[in-house]
Amino acid sequence: MTQTLQRVTTPEFEAFIALEQNADRRFELIDGEIVEKPMPSQEHAWIESEISFVLKLWLQGNGSVAADVYVESRHRPTDDTKNDRIPDVALVMGRRKITRRGAANFIPEMCIEIQSPDDRLTTMRKKAAFYLEYGAQYALIVRPIKRMIEVYSADDELALLTAADMLTFPDLLPGFSVAVDKLFPPADRIEDES
């Protein structure tokens, strides 16, 4: 189905995802192209849940910083009719209204993408660049196989964090700090693919 559709705009995208046969599937609109998002594996979900947990926990303890954490919510840049994206985890600063239907009309301050086994890094890095271009301060690519995180920031800096490093966001979440290793399931608990 995704192959047959060529370039569409957001109204057509809305109609497409509303189709009954697409109800249980997840799609993104990437520069006018409908792309199916892979169903999350257990490892993917573990990491997603851990990242949102540490962010929420930190926000609870730091009431002076107003922000919300979202998992798999739809976002599109204001007035962009060719994009509708689903970052795996998103941090939205402030106390914005929470969208009840459809996509939120902005890109979160922090967008986190977790690599699934079939995700190409080049595609993921293009997503990170897209988020930064449309207002994100940080875009993260989390790579379970390597147990590392690529941190792209709006000032064009790039940091490659390995398991031994600490993940921090000094300007966005002053004082927040978590060991990269803790965001991944313990290595010995992950099923062997071979």
Binding site: R120, L121, T122, D156, E157, L158, L160
Partner: protein, 195 residues
């Protein structure tokens, strides 16, 4: 005819544009159909370019069994791509392809090196690295003099960020090649302070 008069052009129009007498001393690239002027190299930029060429040429002198050439600021475009014409600062071409005498070579070198000029945006440079890799390069470097670091992008999608204390190697491409990153940059002290 100025750059702004032209919107999207093809390589044929690009050739006509760069052939204009007023453009003779300038350097242009064609990036996805857009003519972009390349910054004139500073002394720092030129030194780093020179060092890369030197260490690479030294390597090929010692490893005469590897057929290859080191090329500075030459024009390359992917085969059959009418929208691109690029000038990597330094390039390594492996093998014995005939050397282009006129116009752009119709392929992308195996190793492409871009050195950041003061006004170069990193985002733009990383897009160049991606472009090289997508069109046949095995490795692309983004060299950052202000940070004394090198970003190494490889065709297998890996990234490495090397700092001054690291060693630059290309195990698959140039076996045995090794140079300290620090040595590729001019000594920190004599660099003119911009402030």
């Amino acid at each position: 005819m100025t750059i702004n008069d032209i919107q999207r052009v093809t390589t044929t129009e690009f050739e006509a544009f760069i052939a204009h007498p007023e453009n003779a001393a300038r350097r242009f690239e064609l990036i996805d159909g857009e003519i972009v002027e390349k910054a004139m190299p500073t002394e720092q930029h030129g030194m780093i370019e020179g060092r890369f060429s030197q260490v690479l040429n030294n390597y090929f002198d010692v490893h005469a069994e590897i057929e290859a050439r080191v090329v500075g600021n030459a024009r390359y475009r992917p085969t059959d791509d009418p929208e691109n014409d690029r000038l990597p600062d330094v390039a390594v071409v492996l093998g014995n392809r005939p050397i282009t005498r006129r116009g752009a070579a119709n392929f992308i070198p195996h190793l492409c090196i871009e050195i950041q000029s003061p006004d170069d945006r990193l985002k733009t440079m990383r897009k160049k690295a991606d472009f090289y890799l997508e069109n046949g390069a095995l490795c692309a470097l983004v060299v950052r003099p202000d940070k004394r670091t090198i970003e190494v992008y490889s065709a297998d999608d890996e990234i490495a960020i090397l700092s001054a204390s690291d060693t630059l190697t290309f195990p698959d491409l140039l076996p045995g090649f090794s140079v300290s990153v620090d040595k590729l940059f001019p000594p920190a002290n004599p660099i003119e302070d911009e402030s």
